[in-house]
């Protein structure tokens, strides 16, 4: 345990020092690594720990992004105040989706499909209702002052992403140590046995999706503030859902550090393949090459490493 704690501290120190020595380009890459690890963790808490695999987690991300942006652009809220409101909206959407689908008894792949459907419905709605400005998307006026949740120096977004990532890991750690976490794992492993042991399976699943929705929505606001623009495809596109799921599965679903490890791995692959593709003429037309590699990796991991990359470092898998 103390060795692990030491390792964490060294990792954290390295992450804090990194942007001080790295060029701006790499600071941005690092920021994305931490950000994706954060939203991946929000997926992981519901999909990894509780086994409620969602294919449409982006619905929470987009809800967060749109809530804070609308409050800011249309109603003139300060983005820092809009942030908790966005999380609340994400929590509400999580709660509603959970109540509807778990009340109907949807499990496993049916639950995954219904979340995908919800995300698509939200995307289409965002495309058509007036208050999101439809397909035009929403632009946040650039005014790079910290009070506006905008920073001239990318280093601040990096540190904010680092903070989010650390907080999400602490949340996951707290969950694994608590009764709540033990119940989630029991539900993942065997719902009937969990019910027999007095667990209110429905209530716990609703709780975890609400928490997960709030976390993911926080990521949505962060993203909108970083790029100052969202549209229905960015906010509710299926690729982000896949990204969240992928980093968790690659790193190790249901583990505290899985999403972070997955995010680092996938980003490194992404950057390397991009570099390779730009150098090797034969690969010029294979765009993006990273998706090919992702696909191969996912197949290998599902077939060979069901516990994810983290499984390589552990002789005995310890899920939560």
């Amino acid at each position: 345990m103390s060795r692990q704690a030491a390792l964490c501290l060294v990792g954290l120190a390295a992450a804090v020092m990194f942007p001080l020595v790295a060029p701006n380009y790499l600071v941005n890459v690092g920021m994305m690594v931490l950000f994706v690890a954060f939203i991946g963790q929000s997926w992981n808490i519901a999909g990894g720990f509780a086994g409620q695999t969602s294919f449409g987690h982006v619905v929470f991300f987009g809800t967060g992004a749109y809530t804070s942006t609308i409050l800011q652009v249309t109603y003139g809220w300060n983005p820092w105040l809009a942030w908790p409101a966005a999380m609340l909206a994400g929590a509400i959407v999580g709660w509603v989706i959970a109540v509807l689908s778990f009340r109907a008894g949807l499990r496993g792949s049916y639950f995954a499909l219904i979340t995908l459907a919800f995300a698509e419905v939200f995307r289409i709605l965002a495309n058509s209702v007036p208050f999101t400005r439809g397909g035009l998307g929403m632009l946040i006026k650039a005014d790079p002052r910290p009070i506006n949740f905008q920073f001239r120096d990318p280093i601040w977004f990096y540190y904010l992403a680092l903070l989010l990532c650390v907080v999400s890991i602490l949340i996951a750690w707290q969950v694994t140590r608590s009764r709540f976490g033990a119940r989630l794992v029991a539900i993942r492993e065997n719902e009937d046995a969990a019910r027999a042991l007095g667990i209110d399976v429905f209530a716990e699943k609703v709780k975890v999706l609400t928490l997960s929705g709030a976390m993911c929505a926080a990521g949505g606001t962060f993203y909108a503030q970083k790029y100052l623009y969202i549209d229905p495809n960015i906010a509710f596109g299926v690729d982000k859902s896949v990204e969240m799921l992928l980093v968790s599965m690659v790193g190790g679903a249901g583990t505290i550090f899985g999403p972070l490890i997955g995010s680092v791995t996938l980003t490194v692959i992404n950057e390397v393949t991009r570099a390779v593709a730009s150098v090797v003429p034969a690969l010029k037309n294979v765009q993006p090459l990273s998706l090919v590699v992702y696909g191969i990796m996912l197949v290998l991991i599902v077939a060979r490493l069901p516990d994810g990359l983290i499984g390589l470092f552990r002789r005995k898998p310890r899920h939560a």
Partner: protein
């Protein structure tokens, strides 16, 4: 303590349980036997809230619990185990049992201590760090028992905890069940292994084709012509007497 009154449960046109009644008094070990497909497990599921009954009443400790959700029935003090064992495969035996102990405490240290104590009771102290998936059949049966026990029940519903065990393992688990009763927990068990039932249970109910056809002491049941016919076929009772 447990009173089941004329409980019925159908699946489509099949009456799996047909107006079955039984009662269990505090401190007893009661057996529920019957041929394959008699409806024993369905009756259990209906009592424990897994399958809401179509008709009839279930009362536990003076409280009507008919059709309540399993977690509420568990809160009242009644827990079931499964015939087909359902271990949480990817966590350790200790963590498996802790899930049960968490039923009455949110404190993980306390849950851990209790899990270890319960493991001692069912003879699993040496296997606390094994994964649920790595257990033998006998180990899984014990784990079912331990997890249910950890919730702190007053009445345990055991569904065929001895099926698939060898004679040595049966002797061991019979002793474990006796110890559990000695600690003040009432037990209702479904069993196939007749010898185990007769050595454990004070009273036995016999279910056949969804109906309760007999009840009484194990010795009386073994003489009952209806029971013999249910098990061995029509006319068997006459042959046995001859």
């Amino acid at each position: 303590m447990l009173e089941v009154h004329e409980l019925s449960k159908s699946f489509g046109g099949l009456k799996a349980v047909d107006q079955a009644s039984l009662d269990v008094r505090e401190g007893e070990i009661v057996g529920l036997i019957g041929p394959n497909g008699a409806g024993k497990t369905t009756l259990f599921a209906a009592i424990a809230g897994f399958q809401p009954p179509d008709a009839g009443r279930v009362a536990f400790a003076g409280q009507d619990i008919t059709g309540l959700a399993p977690h509420k029935i568990c809160a009242a003090g009644m827990v079931r185990t499964f015939q087909i064992t359902q271990p949480f495969a990817k966590i350790s035996v200790r963590e498996n049992i802790m899930v049960g102990a968490y039923f009455h405490t949110a404190d993980s240290k306390l849950a851990r201590r209790e899990a270890e104590a319960v493991a001692g009771m069912v003879g699993m102290t040496g296997q606390l760090d094994q994964m649920g998936a790595d257990l033998t059949v006998a180990g899984r049966k014990r784990l079912e028992l331990a997890r249910a026990l950890a919730t702190g029940p007053r009445l345990l519903l055991l569904d065929e905890v001895m099926a698939g065990l060898n004679p040595t393992e049966i002797t061991e688990i019979v002793q474990v069940i006796r110890d559990i009763r000695e600690s003040g927990i009432t037990i209702l068990l479904i069993e196939h292994v007749m010898q185990a039932v007769t050595s454990l249970a004070e009273r036995v109910y016999v279910l056949n084709q969804g109906r309760m056809i007999a009840d009484g002491t194990p010795a009386a049941i073994a003489q009952d012509p209806q029971v013999i016919e249910a098990y061995l076929g029509h006319g068997a009772a006459k042959v046995m007497r001859a």
